[in-house]
């Protein structure tokens, strides 16, 4: 389909909106209500363009312009909103750049939009990253002719602990309302009143925790703001670090905004194959631990008490502590560690010769996933088995809901994702009958056409040979669909073994379903494939108490109700002084995953890169460097002494090339994880207590003058005489 924008011819697929045609041609048109992942509504009227089409005469041929011999363009009598206008064959479009009518229309519309918008940009957290600010600068008149008082409404009105609303700033683009209706399927926010009195509110006593934070990202103005990051910094002051979230196995793309060494805000990044542009509330708001009460120096137990120490002192303490344990050392790490860190741990374990190595959480056996998140979003039948997605992998829930509203993947153009996808409609029709949920009651139940309350590890067997009408219906759903996807969660996977895998692939093969297995930990799928499980005679994490000496990286067994120590010497490597760390002999400061470079593997088997945000971590070290210290204490030389070394080790051992991973990661058939008993059941929990916002703890990193005034007396004696006197 040929379309001409400001004289620039472009070739576009049918069904493209005029707005995307304009951007595809490299031109610009302002817009507020359109959003790449929401339905176009044409409410803000900013994206006006002039459009004209050729017309076919009675003979079926285009009517020609007598002067040029080209098809004559019949211009529409008034400017059209390009977000809701479908580009058609031969259409001509004029933007503000070539049309004075459009330029005036847009400037006039901007004047209307700004009519009641308060002039509090200096105090508004959106300032500097505000679509309205930018567009007003680019397309506005520069001054308003409105000579009346602006509308006054509720300012700083908390919709929840996380989201704060300023009704004066709202420009009624309806993105947030449409977001809740179309994406998480919750009708919790809507316009109240009509006409000039319209404002946004909820009657539900607050927004539901889950996916509410996304509205702060999509609000084109500062009406809906992240309350956790409120007034923490201006947008141009943040260091933006695009990285991957490692709170759950989905691996959403995020951007970490840090200022002055503190993590102040997390915003969603776009990854079309993983999270699109949505992230969960835990990923967005649960970052406060990264700047609160961090361990910044090693601690060594002296006389029964943990004392601050240098790394050298810590290494010395470890040398003494480990001596006598020989190779009876357990090495355990958290399953959100990177592949590189896992490699370093395996390499050290091999150098020491200990079979006791493990990561947690993990399942004794994890069947292989064959489905990607895109498969989930485009499936025509979905059965969720024993999973509480809200705790295990929240964004999978959004992708399931995407499938239920039609499974339309966003179109892509030269400028990126289609901004106004005309296939998306307001209040989309959902097809709950495509979804069956078998398991304990969860948030997803509301959207499922078939709900089967059940629990226990035998759910898969019961689904394969259904004994109740509901289960029969679920199986029939899988059988009758063309692209079914089966999603498995903790409730069935805790008891998984090879027989389970065989049964699963049997069922999947029989009904032609793809399988999405939700791993226990954020990177347990990747770490499991590194042979990071107890070897012959080795002790798993769950039997920590039986190991002679142990090194634990960012694990807190004491908080899980497990013994927090090995039999003998215990070293803990963590970001905070956890319950386990408090009982350890040596505590090494760690860094969070926001401050690491490395690679993680998500539930699809996609390798995703982590980047390092500039956070203040004191002497904190990632696991690779911490293990170098441990190796030194153990008197062995590990082959992995840095990130590059770890990547080289991974390439040499498994052929994994991680060095030149693209920004969006790479889908790579993963190595099957090794099996090993855990002795523990994994109970997924997304929000850890330390992630909850605690505003009272969020002080400034800058000492006040009072502290400095104490030091007024200089060490120089006598005090120098300031010159001059009356």
């Amino acid at each position: 389909m040929k379309v001409t924008i400001d004289g620039i011819p472009v070739d576009l697929p049918a069904g493209t909106s005029a707005l995307d045609a304009v951007f595809h041609a490299g031109r610009d048109v302002p817009y507020f209500c359109a959003h790449p992942y929401l339905s176009p509504v044409g409410a803000c009227r900013m994206c006006l363009v002039e459009a004209g089409t050729p017309r076919k005469g009675k003979d079926g041929a285009f009517e020609l312009d007598e002067a040029t011999g080209q098809p004559k363009i019949f211009w529409m009598p008034k400017p059209m909103a390009s977000c809701t206008l479908q580009a058609t064959e031969g259409m001509h479009i004029r933007t503000a750049k070539t049309s004075d009518v459009v330029a005036k229309a847009q400037a006039g519309m901007m004047e209307f939009t700004l009519l009641n918008h308060p002039l509090d940009c200096p105090t508004c957290d959106k300032g500097g990253a505000c679509e309205l600010q930018d567009r007003a600068f680019e397309y506005g008149y520069g001054a308003s002719r409105y000579g009346f008082d602006r509308r006054h409404a509720d300012k700083h009105y908390a919709l929840s602990d996380f989201i704060i609303l300023d009704q004066e700033r709202c420009i009624h683009c309806k993105r947030c309302v449409r977001y809740f209706e179309e994406v998480p399927g919750q009708e919790v926010l809507d316009f109240i009143e009509r006409g000039g009195h319209t404002f946004i509110d909820t009657e539900e006593g607050g927004l539901p925790v889950g996916f509410q934070g996304n509205i702060a990202d999509i609000c084109p103005v500062g009406a809906l703001l992240d309350n956790v990051a409120r007034f923490r910094g201006r947008n141009w002051e943040y260091d933006h670090t695009p990285t991957t979230c490692t709170l759950c196995p989905v691996g959403c793309s995020i951007t970490v905004d840090a200022r002055n060494g503190r993590l102040e805000r997390v915003v969603a990044g776009e990854h079309r194959d993983v999270n699109e542009v949505w992230i969960c509330d835990a990923g967005r708001f649960g970052h406060v631990f990264a700047t609160e009460e961090r361990l910044t120096v090693p601690l060594v137990r002296v006389g029964g008490e943990l004392r601050e120490a240098t790394w050298d002192q810590a290494i010395e303490a470890m040398r003494q502590g480990f001596s006598g344990h020989g190779s009876n050392v357990g090495l355990y790490l958290s399953a959100d560690s990177t592949l590189e860190e896992g490699a370093a741990l395996v390499a050290l374990a091999e150098a020491v010769g200990t079979p006791s190595r493990d990561h947690w959480p993990r399942y004794p056996h994890t069947p292989m996933s064959t489905a990607t998140l895109t498969d989930v979003a485009t499936a025509d039948a979905l059965v969720v088995l024993g999973a509480d997605l809200g705790e295990e992998a929240p964004v999978v829930e959004l992708r399931i809901l995407e499938a239920l509203r039609g499974g339309l993947l966003p179109a892509e153009f030269a400028h990126g994702t289609a901004i106004a996808d005309l296939r998306l409609t307001e209040r989309p029709a959902r097809t709950p009958e495509k979804l069956a949920v078998i398991g304990r009651e969860s948030r997803l139940w509301r959207h499922a056409g078939l709900r089967v309350p059940a629990e226990g590890p035998d759910l898969l067997a019961r689904l394969a040979r259904p004994d109740t009408p509901d289960l029969q219906a679920a199986l029939r759903l899988l059988e009758e669909a063309e692209k079914p996807v089966l999603i498995l969660g903790a409730d069935v996977l805790n008891g998984a073994d090879t027989a389970f895998s065989a049964a699963l692939s049997g069922l999947a093969g029989r009904v032609g379903a793809k399988v999405l297995v939700i791993p226990a930990g954020p990177n347990s799928r990747g770490l499991g494939g590194l042979n990071l499980v107890p070897g012959a005679g080795g002790l798993p994490y769950g039997r920590l108490g039986e190991v002679g000496a142990a090194f634990l990286s960012r694990l807190d067994p004491a908080a899980q109700g497990l013994p927090g120590r090995a039999r003998g010497f215990t070293v803990v490597h963590d970001t905070h002084l956890t319950a386990t760390a408090q009982g350890a002999d040596v505590v090494l400061p760690a860094v969070t995953n926001y401050e690491k470079r490395g690679t993680t593997v998500n539930l699809e088997g996609r390798l995703l890169p982590l980047a390092q945000a500039p956070l203040r971590a004191g002497e904190g070290a990632d696991l690779i460097r911490a293990l170098v210290a441990v190796a030194e204490a153990l008197g062995v030389r590990s082959p992995v002494r840095g990130l590059r070394g770890a990547q080289a080790w991974l390439e040499a051992r498994y052929g994994l090339r991680l060095a030149e991973l693209p920004a969006g990661g790479r889908l790579q058939p993963p190595r099957p994880p090794q099996d090993a008993a855990t002795g523990l059941a994994h109970a997924p929990q997304l929000w850890k207590p330390r992630m909850l916002p605690r505003p009272e703890r969020r002080g400034s990193g800058v000492p006040g003058r009072e502290a400095r005034a104490e030091r007024w007396e200089l060490p120089l004696a006598p005090a120098p005489q300031p010159g001059g006197d009356d």
């Binding site: 200096p122 007034f231 002051e237 002055n260 006040g704 003058r705 005034a709 001059g724």
Partner: protein, 179 residues
Amino acid sequence: MSVLDIAKGMGVTLSKLFQKPVTVSYPEERVTLQPRFRGRHVLTRHPDTGLEKCIGCSLCAAACPAYAIYVEAAENDPLNPTSPGERYAKVYEINMLRCIFCGLCEEACPTGAVVLGNEFELADYRYGDLVYGKEDMLVGVDGSLPQRREAARTGRPLRRGFRVEGGARPELEGVEYPS
């Protein structure tokens, strides 16, 4: 060079010999400054309410070509506000060693909170003491840090080595300089 030229030169010398000297024996005597002289910053307050004009917007920091300003904002306690509106500057620091006294911060300020005053006697011993916080710049705090330290040490009133012709500029609400 002719004799005439020498005489001409000597003539200038002679004529100046009998004029009043322009040299000011600073610091014993006060130097006279023009009101538009740009010295260290003052953070002004609203004269009627006493609330700080600064709302912590960081625009001064953004405008500063020397990266001398650091601002951290916080939310006002509605019952006991520091500034009008929702937001105030919890931390407001200017590094006087970096500052080039260009006045761009003053131009960028949307509320007229930060104004360059006339004080210039800032010399001090330690780097840290040249980072001025809110406590050092709010209107009502006179003199520089070393001057105040000296006044506190000796118990004598703070003394400034300058006077301003016609007093402080009107923008410096609440600031008084000897004239």
